[in-house]
Structures are given as structure tokens and as C-alpha cells.
Amino acid sequence: MPGVLTVAELCQHIRLLLDNDELLRSCFVKGEVSSVSLYPSGHLYFTLKDASHQISCVMFRQENQGLKFKLKEGMKVTASGRVSIFSGRSQYQLIVQDLKPDGIGELYLAFLDLKDKLEKEGLFDPSRKRSIPFFPQTVGIVTSLQGAALHDMISIIQRRNPAVKILISPSPVQGQDAPTNLISSLRKLQSFPEVEVVLLARGGGSPEELWSFNDENLAREIFVCRIPVISGVGHETDFTIADFVADRRAPTPSAAAELVSPLRQDLLQQLTGLKERLMRSMERKIQEKEFQRLDYLMQQLDRAFQNKVKLCDIRLESLQDKLEALNPYSILKRGYVLAAKNGKTIKTAREALLEKKGTLIFADGEIEAVFQKQPSREGSRNQYVQGNFLNRRNDLL
């Protein structure tokens, strides 16, 4: 028979119908939870119902791990997800992507819309996020003066690093006027040039209480803020629009405070270490240089000493020459004779006559001599001498 389908074909067809339906592909459903059952696989099965109807729901492990509350019987929730068919059994079910406790359903939708919109505009773009200064000198804080958050942040910063200055720009953090006030406080901080980073913070609270941080104008103000902004709103599981647009999200106000206050002790230690290394390396360099200088001086000294010795040699030689020139005996070699008596030279004829006897010293030896006056005035230079050669030893000279 034409047009006869197999069961599988029929199921496939129905599934395609559902999968292609605009509404069923992405819908929000609110209802009461019943028959909650967490499978060992980690998938969460439950039923959503109202007075007259119910629908099977599954929230797969991957999704339900992000769930910020524990799903319980009777709980009123808003689920978002798509409707599809579990192939084998032809049972349609809601495949839940996200789940919010009720009361926030409307707000939550608005939140998702805004998040989507701002994301498309590029407000959450990681590439435009500014880096947080590692050790800011002045930190601006936008929060309520009433909350415990301010107290926590101040004490954390002051304990960790008392060198960090804090400038508080107070603002209510909940209520109708909170967004406008938060914006204004953020703006005020920007007129203080010393502020290097801003903590936009609020302690934990219900989703409604945190709602001011989902404000569109606040998001835009954070985006254009001159100073990098760290958000620290609520608890770790709370995400606000401010968190997405901030340059950095801290899970809590305390965590935000820690991000801007590196432990002073660590910094001091690091600096001292660097200082020591600087000193040591310079000392080494100077020592090295000192040794080089010492070596050089030693060389200089060595050279100077050798020069000195050489100089002495030269002077000695010249002295020897001089001495040689003055040696009275050298003159004898040229034929002169020296008259002496007991080792004393006789310089005049008169003296010789007085001594009567003496020694005549020649280059090659000495002879005894008798001095007497020549009767005649004529004669040679040796007119006073008359003597006998005595064969003296030559080596005396």
C-alpha cells in the first residue's frame, strides 16, 4: 500500500516536526517540579507540571552541573530549553538548558536578552578587556557604606598591603536608584587621576537584591570607564551583567580586594633579593677589576725594577770608566814616573831632597831611589834622581 510508513519513519517524521518548530526549539516554561531523579550518569530527570498538565524533562549532566540551587519536589521554576523526542520510545520531553527558581522568571528573561544584546555589541569582548595593574598605588571602591563587603575589602587590602591607598566612592547597591547611583559613583572616581583600578562590589544577596548590577546603563558605563574595573558581586555562583562587561570578574568582594593587593611581604622580599643580587654582582665586578689593576701594578713594578737594575748597570759602567780614567797608575803606562815615600807621593823636588830616599814607581814596577841635589843647574828633568833598579814585583800594579 502506498504511503505506508514504518514505525521508525513515523517517529523520525514527528521528531523532525518538533525539531524544526521555532517555538519548540527554544522556549521558556514555568511550572512545578516533581519526580526528581538524578541518574548515576549524572543526568537529571524530572517532571514539570501545573494544575492540569505535565511534561517530562531532562537536564543533562553538562548543564545541571552549573545549577546554582538544588532541585526539589514542589519547587516552582522557569526552565529554558527545547522540546525533542527521545528516539526509541517516541516520548517527547523538554531538554532543559537552564533552570531558575521562580519569581525571577521575568527578570531572568530580561537578563538573558540584555546579555545577548550587549554581547553582540561587543561589550564582553575579551580583546577590549584591560589588564589589571599588579600593584596599584590607589584603588577605588564603589559599594555601599552599609554593607559588610566594604569592611571586608578594606581589611583585606590593609592587611595584605598597607601601601595601597583606598578611595571609596559610596553608592547604594540595591533598590530602584542603585543603578543611577552606581554609575554616578563610578564617574566620580574617574576624576581622580591617581585611581588605578576600581572595585565594583556588593556582598551576597538574593537575585533581586543583586539586580542593580544587571542594569544596561551601568554596563555601558563600565564599558567606557577610563579605569579598569573589577566586579565582585554576590557569591561565587552569582553572575551579573556587570561581571561580563568588567575587565575582570572576581567571585566575591574579598576576592576582588585580593586581586589588587599583592602581599607586601612578598614584594619586600623580592626587592631585597634583587638588591642583594645587584650589590653582589657589582662587588664581583669591582673585585675583578681590582684584581686586574693589581696584576697591572705588579707588572709595572716588575718592569720598573728591571729598568732600575739596568740603569744601575749603566751607571756602574760609567763610574768604572771614570774611575779608570782617574787611576793614577794608568798615567804611568804613558811613561810618567811617580815618586813616593812610605806610600805617600812626593810631589816636589824640595820634598824629595828632604826625604833623601824613596821609591820610584813605574808602570812595570818600583825601584828604590836616593834623592840628591844636582851640583849643576843644567840637566834633564831627572836631575835629582840617582838610583838602582830593585826588581820589584810588577803585580803590585
Partner: protein, 76 residues
Amino acid sequence: MSELSYETCIEKLEELVKKLESGDLPLEESLQAYEKGKQLIAYCSEKLKEAQGKLQIVIQKENGSLESAPFQLDKI
């Protein structure tokens, strides 16, 4: 130097010290590096000093101008 962040100063300092430690620098440059290093250390030490009047609050005056005033936590 006043525009330098603490982190940048520390990075510069690390660089100088490494250069000095390598021993490759001539004495003249070593001395320069050493002097620069001492300046950086003094600058960083200054930044690590405990801040005076470290807790302040933004106040808007009647004419709309902003100023900061001392603040005490126990006033909350």
C-alpha cells in the same frame, strides 16, 4: 620615572641584575647599570612604604566639585 608601574620597574630591575650577573658588561656600563638599579630599588621601596592617609572617601561639595576626605572604617 613616575609613570612607571611597580611591575615594570621590577622587570627592568631583573633585567639589569641579570646583565650585571652575566659579567659581560664593561666596568663603565656596569656602574651605570648599578646606579640605575639603585634608583629603581629606591623607587620601588618608596612605593612599598605604608601609605599615609590610606583610607579616603569621595565627597561632592555644594558647588559640585569633588574632593577626597579621610575616612574611618568605624564610622560605618
